[in-house]
């Protein structure tokens, strides 16, 4: 089937080339049948790549080690669910996933716009097929997912143990969906400039895709943070890692766009800004893919090789130069139709929010690419760490939270000082009450965290007041009970109230970040069985060691050959809180030089974190057992010299037994962090709000609104 898979890729490349030509010919000559044929090329591309993806997925599920990609990233001992996800852990498979997702989203975008924006859509089709063709060409010429090997190896290397984590199965598709969705507004934005149609219609056509890109990227980033916190043994969820930053940058510019597009829709303003944001977001999405796939910057999240750098740099250069040329050459058409009525208006708040978001993006861009810039200028690679990022992003983040509370209580066009005073009373009261409560509770040592808590309270107050007043207005008009009035209010104003819910979620998330990073208690120490230590208000006692062998009995279900851990008894004020069992998994290695026993456990060891999580605090534990003791090493050495491969597991069992009988001191990483759960909760709230904003209005209501809207506008009967 490998030949068939590769034939699919070649066919996909031909379809891309044809579709680009047909779309451009159609739009330049007015031959609609060619534009239509180009659009169908995208549908065909989606079909072909779906077929190719199914072929590769089947190869993984059936352990077909004739495929290089399967042999390199999967194995029989890799659990079935992780085998399914191993497709995108390989360089080749992830490129196929990218191209496939892009073709599916592009097909959806073109299907939804099939009856409008025909000239813009034709250019957008050519651009989207250009992206598709680029990724398919990478697979055909550089990283063929259907490359095979002879003779067929009896066993594969196995999935990177770090990736054997439930959220890792959906994190890459989410992130890639976000990245690929970012290319759709890019294609339509560039198409609008090429077609010289820069009115609000193209914005309307891609609004949902921009929102979906924001949502998927956000979910992907959160899942990545959850993986980092739950799987990597350092206890953090964000380390300003290059790949983390690469996914955050398009999310930030996308967030800015989602706010400023409303100003263009309503007022015909910020056209240059909006189209620039869209083009920047698309380019940053490709740069994000480039970082994770090229391995050009060191990252725990980078799983690619170093072969794809040059093609990606060429694509990014074309995108940047082309974007700048289009914006500059169309600048006369992009002039604003109106000016700001007042600096005290929602438009101004959105502008300020845009400036902060873009400043954040710039800071992160500079910090992320600083190693490359430094190497280019001085010849020496240097990098900046978390303290550098924190110095700039923390104040900008505080301003952002403040603005997310200001926006909802300011009117469009112009607000008066008297109204502003009245509207800010409740939010300011909430912030002040929080400050007093924190002072009374004795929490006054971390000024930045306290400022964040007060600003978050300001957001809760402002959004809460909006919901209250909106529901009250709805009740006054329709005489409905509170729940129905609230529901009707949100249903009729999904974008507005969905957006407000997102603001709440972001504030909750920031509270979690501020609390967990400022008030964390951490301890890294060596303990022997029976010993205890204190972490914050908690006592941690190392009761006894634990050990399991063979993938079948691996507690974390990740297929490790040997797992060594500890039972930890956690108490607070003498009361039992939890019993935790952190462990370290040892995996098989392909390195035969480690010997028959050594190779069974010689792969990359991976920490399996154990934690007791609640809404108020997380007790997080990780262990790093010492298997380098003389006694344990001797078991491996003797096993290597005496046991054949089929009996080597006996020595591993003996090693586990010896570890249980005479456990050496183990290194523990213990953390007590308040409100970590709020980060995930805030993320969930934001996703919920995003879905409400994204959800289309009921078609019947929309039809009725459209039919009546003209009459309503003339008669002045617009209702809440």
């Amino acid at each position: 089937m490998a030949t068939f898979g590769f034939a699919c890729l070649v066919l996909a490349l031909i379809v891309c080339a044809y579709g680009i030509g047909a779309s451009l010919y159609g739009v330049r000559t007015g031959r609609v049948e060619f534009s239509e044929s180009g659009r169908r090329s995208v549908y065909a591309l989606a079909g072909i790549l779906t077929t190719a993806f199914v072929v590769l997925e089947l190869a993984f599920l059936r352990n077909n080690f004739a495929f290089n990609a399967v042999a390199d990233t999967s194995s029989r001992t890799t659990p079935a669910l992780y085998r399914a996800a191993a497709v995108w852990s390989s360089q080749e498979g992830s490129l196929l996933l990218w191209a496939w997702l892009m073709s599916m989203w592009s097909s959806l975008a073109l299907f939804l716009t099939r009856k409008r924006l025909r000239d813009v859509a034709a250019y957008a089709t050519a651009i989207m097929l250009g992206f598709g063709g680029f990724f398919v060409a990478l697979m055909v010429f550089y990283a063929n997912p259907f490359a095979t090997t002879h003779p067929v190896p009896p066993e594969g290397v196995g999935l990177d143990p770090l990736l054997r984590f439930p959220t890792m199965m959906i994190h890459p598709p989410m992130l890639y969906s976000g990245y690929t969705l970012c290319t759709i507004p890019f294609a339509f934005g560039a198409g609008a400039l090429l077609a010289r149609r820069v009115d609000a219609e193209w914005i309307k056509a891609i609004r949902r895709f921009a929102f979906a890109a924001w949502l998927f990227l956000g979910v992907g980033i959160l899942l990545g943070a959850l993986w980092s916190y739950s799987e990597l043994g350092w206890g953090g969820y964000w380390g300003w890692d290059a790949v983390e930053n690469a996914s955050l940058m398009p999310w930030l510019t996308g967030t800015a766009f989602l706010h400023s597009l409303m100003i263009q829709e309503k007022r015909g303003m910020l056209k240059i800004w909006n189209v620039s944001l869209v083009l920047a977001t698309g380019t940053l999405a490709i740069m994000g893919t480039f970082l994770v796939r090229s391995g050009i910057l060191d990252s725990i999240h980078a799983f690619g090789g170093h072969t794809l750098g040059v093609p990606f740099v060429c694509l990014i250069a074309v995108m940047i130069v082309g974007s700048i040329y289009l914006v500059v050459s169309r600048r006369d058409m992009l002039r604003s139709e109106h000016r700001l009525d007042s600096w005290l208006s929602r438009e101004s708040a959105f502008l300020a929010n845009n400036v902060v978001l873009v400043a954040l993006c710039f800071v992160i861009f500079w910090g992320t690419y600083f190693p490359l810039i430094s190497e280019a200028v001085t010849g020496q690679e240097a990098s900046v760490g978390p303290p550098w990022f924190d110095r700039y992003t923390v104040p900008l983040g505080l301003i952002l939270v403040l603005l997310s509370g200001v926006g909802p209580v300011i009117a469009w066009r112009r607000a008066t000082l008297a109204n502003a005073r009245r509207n800010f009373l409740v939010p300011l009261g909430c912030a002040l009450a929080t400050l007093v409560a924190l002072e009374l509770a004795g929490i006054n040592q971390k000024p930045l965290a306290i400022a964040l808590f007060c600003l978050a309270a300001f957001v809760f107050g402002s959004v809460g007041q909006e919901f209250f007043r909106g529901t009250r207005a709805r009740r006054a008009m329709a005489g409905e009970p509170v729940p129905r009035a609230l529901l009707a209010l949100v249903r009729r104003n999904r974008r507005r109230y969905g957006g407000y819910i997102v603001h709440i979620g972001i504030a909750v998330l920031f509270v979690g970040v501020a609390a967990s990073s400022s008030f964390q208690h951490a301890s890294q120490l060596s303990l022997s069985p029976g010993q205890s230590t204190r972490v914050g208000a908690y006592t941690v006692r190392y009761m006894r060691p634990t050990a399991t062998i063979t993938p079948k009995y691996d507690q974390a279900h990740t297929g490790s050959t040997l797992s060594l851990g500890a039972l930890l008894y956690i108490t607070k004020n003498g009361h039992h809180v939890a019993t935790l069992n952190p462990s370290e998994g040892y995996y098989a290695s392909e390195d035969a030089s480690q010997g028959t026993v050594g190779s069974l456990i010689g792969g990359q060891p991976v920490s399996h974190v154990a934690m007791n999580a609640s809404l108020t605090r997380n007790v997080w534990t990780a262990i790093d057992p010492d298997i380098e003791t003389t006694a344990l090493k001797r078991i491996i050495t003797v096993g290597n010299s005496t046991l054949p491969a089929q009996d080597a597991l006996v020595a591993v069992a003996y090693l586990a037994r010896a570890y249980l009988k005479n456990p050496p001191p183990a290194q523990f990483n213990l953390l007590v962090s308040p409100l970590v759960m709020w980060i995930w909760l805030g993320g969930l709230i934001s996703v919920g709000g995003g879905l409400i904003a994204l959800w289309p209005a009921p078609s019947a209501v929309r039809r009725r609104v459209t039919a009546r809207s003209r009459e309503r506008a003339v008669r002045g009967l617009a209702r809440v």
Binding site: M1, T3, F4, A7, C8, L11, V15, G19, R31, V32, E33, F34, E36, S37, R40, S41, A44, G47, I48, T51, K115, R116, L117, R118, D119, R197, D199, A200, E201, K204, E265, K266, G268, V409, I410, A411, W412, R413, R414, A415, T416, N419, R422, E466, R469, G470, A473, M477, N493, R496, V705, S709, R710, R712, A713, V714, G716, A718, R719, V720
Partner: protein, 112 residues
């Protein structure tokens, strides 16, 4: 196996060619010229005329203006606008909406 793969590949190529070339074949069957009464499907629509493009733009502007009117009223009802400001903004917005509607009407009349 090799034979099966060849059949599968040919089948896929056939499907792709049929899908992608359908608009071209249809246009050739109808060519020349495309009768106006069968120009309903996507592939048979004539190139976008400037009037049609202007109508699309005005319709988008109309929808945005309606949304703006609704938003202004919601701002007023939730206490973000004083009644004087609201009246002034609402009157401006309605005047702008009526201007858009008039332009659309003129286009329709010209088309008819």
């Amino acid at each position: 196996m090799g034979f099966l793969i060849a059949i599968l590949t040919l089948l896929l190529v056939g499907l792709v060619v049929a899908l992608v070339s359908a608009p071209l074949r249809r246009a050739r069957e109808l060519d020349p010229p495309i009768p106006k009464d069968v120009a309903g499907s996507d592939s048979q629509q004539p190139p976008l005329a400037p009037d049609s493009r202007l109508r699309d733009e005005l319709e988008a502007a109309r929808e945005a203006k309606y949304r703006e009117i609704r938003d202004a009223e919601l701002d007023f009802r939730t206490g973000k606008l004083s009644s004087e400001d609201y009246r002034a903004i609402d009157a401006d917005l309605r005047a702008e909406a009526i201007e858009i509607l008039n332009r659309l009407e003129r286009l329709r009349t010209r088309d008819a």
